[in-house]
Symmetry: C2
Subunit: 329 residues, 2 copies
């Protein structure tokens, strides 16, 4: 509990320039569960109350404040982005048969996979409805394409699972689709809705894309370095499911002939190979190398917005980039 409070204070101070506005987004998100079916209402409440950090909607608000700040457009957009994220998490947990997320049982675990699928669909429709409220056709199309890209990334992950021949480039493309695309939509849409010049909108898009890349790489690092309590799920859960991420790809690069990953995917003692892989990743230069790559993307994110005036919003975007790389959960 103390840890949660602490985290929430850190996160709040990160989002300082939009501290009050983020509450309006929260209201929009919570309104999702105002439905006339008690069972559905309870289910949606459970899902939207599962303690996300709300980093994506905060990005939309902060980026929107750099130009013509119109909350009537930015608040529904930000809420739509967060609900799309939430919907994909509900489906991902169902796809992966995950029992826990952020330390809480998943919706699929509590209500069954079928109900979770439909609840995710309901959240997609809510997200689309919120974005449609902006009345802006460009962001509406961007949003639809984003869902397409997210699905392509997730499907690519499934189709390439247990394939031990994956490269960094393939990994970057995949996380670009499955994670960065929503970050870049969160920031690009803010540029569009705040009537930023096209060059500035593209700079915001680039900030979001690179931040998303750093975010996912750090997620993939934490999957190996954090303990189960902090993660809210088992260590190395991706690898156990046949998914290669940056640390495991670097391990394969270093030990092309005797990497333990082939043992995790192939025959023999999988448990032992998994333990060996976790150990080798944690006790070699692999983690610092991954952190360096994440840092590189975070720096590119900051570089993209360097030409913006030095104000509290640009500072917040810099601090968020630092936080994404330094975070422990």
């Amino acid at each position: 509990m103390a840890q949660n409070v602490e985290r929430s204070i850190t996160v709040n101070s990160l989002f300082a320039p939009v501290e009050r506005e983020i509450l309006l987004v929260e209201e929009n998100i919570r309104a999702t569960s105002d439905v006339d079916q008690a069972g559905l209402s309870e289910l949606l409440d459970y899902i939207v109350d599962s303690g996300g950090k709300r980093i994506r909607p905060a990005l939309t608000l902060i980026c929107g404040k750099l130009h013509r700040y119109n909350l009537d457009l930015l608040v529904p957009m930000a809420a739509g982005v967060e609900l799309l994220h939430t919907a994909t998490l509900v489906h991902d947990d169902t796809v992966d048969n995950s029992t826990k997320r952020r330390g809480k049982p998943t919706a699929a675990n509590m209500w069954g996979g079928g109900t979770a699928i439909l609840a995710g669909d309901y959240l997609f429709s809510q997200a689309a409805e919120l974005v449609a409220r902006t009345g802006n056709l460009r962001v509406i199309r961007l949003f639809a394409r984003t869902l397409m890209t997210l699905c392509k990334g997730e499907l690519d992950q499934i189709f390439s699972s247990f394939n031990n021949g994956q490269s960094r480039q393939g990994y970057f493309k995949r996380i670009g689709n499955k994670t960065s695309s929503l970050f870049s939509t969160a920031t690009e849409s803010a540029g569009i809705l705040s009537e930023a010049p096209e060059k500035a909108t593209q700079a915001l898009r680039s900030y979001g894309h690179n931040l998303g890349m750093a975010f996912q790489i750090v997620d993939d690092i934490l999957d190996f370095t954090a303990d189960e309590d902090k993660l809210g799920k088992p260590v190395a859960s991706d690898l156990a499911q046949g998914i290669l991420t940056l640390p495991t790809i670097l391990l394969n690069e270093r030990y092309p002939h005797d990497s333990p990953i082939s043992g995790v995917f192939g025959g023999g003692d999988k448990e032992r190979s998994l333990e060996l892989a976790i150990d080798m990743i944690n006790n070699s230069g692999i983690i610092p190398e991954c952190c360096g790559i994440a840092q590189g993307f975070a720096s590119e994110a900051c570089q993209a917005i360097e030409a913006f005036p030095d104000n509290s919003c640009r500072q917040a975007l810099f601090r968020i980039a630092d936080h994404v790389v330094d975070r422990e959960t």
Copy 2:
């Protein structure tokens, strides 16, 4: 095969006023599988090629032809409606663990539930993208709300399963959500996009809603009266899964104290109770009563468009209403 050809001729002649234009819709639907991932492309091809009757997109085209016929708007709308329908079928089959649809193995059966969930999501995004191409905010919002309504209907079905106390009214509300809402969106959007007067748009909406009600009731009748070969799935599959539909609700109404449905849901010999229920439904006045109710909705559908000029499109809409009630698959 001969049966399929025959059906396809019947269906084609039903859609005569838009026979050529429906091919444009088909092209848009098939373009969905043009993706740069071989695995995903194969999966999407399999799904969109599963032989739907394309009744919903045909309705959009025919209704659109009653006013200002603009194919640049109506074709993407019609394709979006059909892809939304396809996406919901893929998810429904995953929710229900169905192994077959229209006699073919379901995507979930062939590729696994996780992949089917993501493929359905991908189709949702494609549907949303197609509808966004109309550039019409009213239909974009209508479309997002429709997905919401469809999900509410499906979730209501799950939350009320194995509840033997359901009424006709609850059933009508549920099928209104899970089926009619997409029919009414197919026809209402045509009115909007063809710049029909508001009264005419509402008449088209009413036609679609009532047609959808008749369509679902006939589906629920066929679940008891058709054989497994024609259905492409087991007889009384809804009842076996705890879902009450009109025939079973009428059976409960007739035999409030000794309906075999409680035996299907409760303890004892479920198989025997199921057989008894199928037998009682088929050999009583229940099926004709259900047909009469379906006919009533179809008549209301026709009544809604009676004020339109008597032309080939109105005639086609009348014939479709007849076909929906008379069809055997």
